[in-house]
């Protein structure tokens, strides 16, 4: 991947997708609102003093859930659903002829959506701080940078997992139901609804080997200033990316060989 590639292909693609996304601002605002579940969870935690058992103060917990909301906002992936529709409608064939990997198109779509989503997520955060002024804090620049990187890595992991599922579209018509199945462990184990630290010991013994805690719990802990193992987090994120990427590549090669265009 050279700089020419980025300048000539990826950047224009991003620009096109960004203007495309700006067209549907309200839609993206609604997506942002639909991610408010962490705040409801926070309400259950603090309202019942459940956080005393895990030794996290109310303020730290509210920061954690705010950060979980943020990380989730910037790591939402829907490539399976787009790809499934495109492959059912026969739109994949023209994409395959283009001199760029079709998944760059989806990748640019996701990045553009995140940029569009950013102001809405900020508004929701401001509303949150109005209701909880005591939990306002300003993370220092290094932390901000590190957590932005880890959020991006989390996004990459999820993008790769979904791309792998999306490749199954070459064999089956409804790959999105597999994605819905995979979403369940992501929802409950990633730390979106409860911080991983609160999980019972029999789960904590193996969960750190799976990719799930690195999707939301690790970046959110990093950003909110809760204790977390930074080295292990980054190493595991990178390991999972290195593990998933070849699988995606293999499946994509096998899938495109099997692919027959509409009507043939």
């Amino acid at each position: 991947m050279n700089s020419n590639f980025i300048k000539r292909k990826l950047f224009p693609l991003l620009k096109v997708q960004y203007s495309n996304m700006l067209e549907y601002r309200v839609e993206i605002a609604l997506w942002a609102i639909s991610g408010v579940i962490p705040f409801f969870m926070l309400n259950i935690w603090t309202n019942n003093n459940l956080n005393e058992a895990i030794n996290i103060s109310n303020i730290m917990l509210s920061r954690y859930f705010l950060c979980a909301f943020f990380v989730r906002q910037f790591s939402v992936v829907w490539v399976v659903f787009s790809f499934e529709e495109d492959s059912l409608m026969g739109k994949v064939s023209p994409y395959l002829i283009q001199p760029i990997h079709p998944f760059f198109r989806y990748f640019a779509q996701h990045l553009a959506e995140q940029i569009t989503r950013f102001p809405f997520a900020l508004i929701i955060a401001v509303i949150f701080f109005i209701f909880n002024p005591e939990s306002l804090w300003i993370p220092d620049l290094v932390v901000l940078l590190l957590s932005a990187i880890s959020t991006f890595l989390s996004f990459l992991i999820q993008f790769l997992i979904q791309s792998i599922v999306a490749c199954l579209c070459f064999w089956t018509e409804k790959a999105s139901s597999i994605e819905r199945l995979l979403f369940i462990p992501t929802l409950f184990l990633s730390g979106l609804l409860a911080p991983v630290i609160s999980f019972p010991a029999y789960v904590k013994s193996w969960i750190y080997l799976t990719p799930f805690p690195y999707l939301i719990d690790f970046p959110a802990n990093l950003l909110s200033g809760n204790s977390t193992n930074v080295n292990r987090g980054f190493i595991m994120q990178i390991l999972w990316i290195l593990l998933l990427f070849p699988i995606f590549k293999k499946l994509w090669c096998a899938g495109t060989k099997k692919f027959t265009a509409m009507g043939s």
């Binding site: 839609e27 005393e52 409950f188």
Partner: protein, 264 residues
């Protein structure tokens, strides 16, 4: 309104949509696994909440399981009927095929709400019923006719409220064209119906009783299950259900006045 005609049409709907859905048999199995995993996940989450506290919001763990059971049944109903049909409204309006629906010599709301069915939702309903039976066992509830009719009655009221909410949001498509994600917002808000309403703070409790009546949808049926019901609450739920159904109907007829078909 000719009931027999509608009944006959409905059996035909059932027949065609079953036939088309059964084409994807593995899909149904994957959906079943998804439903089971998501139930396990939410019980896991509940067990985290209860691991150091015996009571949350006045509910014990065994009692909170009833809410899970009722939520699972209602979610099954949503997946069987509301989700496949009402997301279709968006498609009808974007592609202009609502014209064909309106021209049919049958009530448009009936057609739009019941045309399709998703059999995998049935499995979820069964799952919910099994969980409820288990709860009846562990909570030592004695069954009698009065109890069963009240339960059935409140659950039917909940289904009516849920249907009206979904239908109401889908109807707004006539003005906004793309409300597919507005239903997603509703879905994420309904998610908190898995937890006892009393575990939230007062402001959220009020919000979820008035704007999105989750209080009526899962909490009142659960109270009936435990025998804690008060008659006025049940009557209130019934009247809310009737008001919701009536308004959603009126709203649909009102919205249709603003529908200008495609290309006009």
């Amino acid at each position: 309104m000719n009931l027999r005609k509608y009944f006959k049409v409905y059996t035909k709907f059932l027949h065609t949509s079953f036939a088309s859905e059964l084409e994807y048999q593995t899909n149904i199995i994957i959906d079943l696994i998804t439903a089971i995993l998501s139930l396990i996940g939410s019980i896991f989450l509940l067990s985290i909440f209860f691991q150091d506290n015996g009571i949350i919001g006045g509910w014990e763990f065994e009692q909170a399981l009833i809410i899970q059971g009722i939520y699972t049944i209602l979610n099954g109903v949503t997946n069987t009927w509301f989700n496949p049909n009402l997301t279709e409204i968006v498609k009808h309006i974007r592609e202009g095929t609502l014209d064909f629906v309106l021209l049919k010599p049958i009530d448009s709301q009936f057609f739009i709400s019941l045309k399709k069915i998703n059999p995998s939702g049935f499995l979820e309903i069964m799952l919910g019923i099994f969980l409820l039976l288990y709860c009846i066992n562990i909570n030592e509830i004695n069954l009698n006719l009065r109890f069963l009719t009240l339960c059935l009655f409140t659950i039917i009221c909940s289904i009516c409220i849920l249907y009206s909410l979904w239908f109401f949001i889908s109807t707004t498509t006539i003005w906004f064209v793309k409300t597919w994600n507005a239903t997603e917002v509703l879905r994420s808000f309904l998610y908190i119906g898995r937890f006892p309403l009393d575990s939230f703070s007062l402001s959220l409790k009020i919000f979820f009783s008035i704007f999105i009546p989750i209080a009526f949808i899962t909490t009142i049926p659960s109270e009936v299950f435990l025998g804690l019901y008060q008659l006025w609450k049940i009557l209130l739920e019934a009247s809310v259900a009737i008001i919701f159904l009536f308004t959603s109907r009126k709203f649909w007829l009102f919205a249709l006045k603003f529908y200008s078909s495609a290309s006009s």
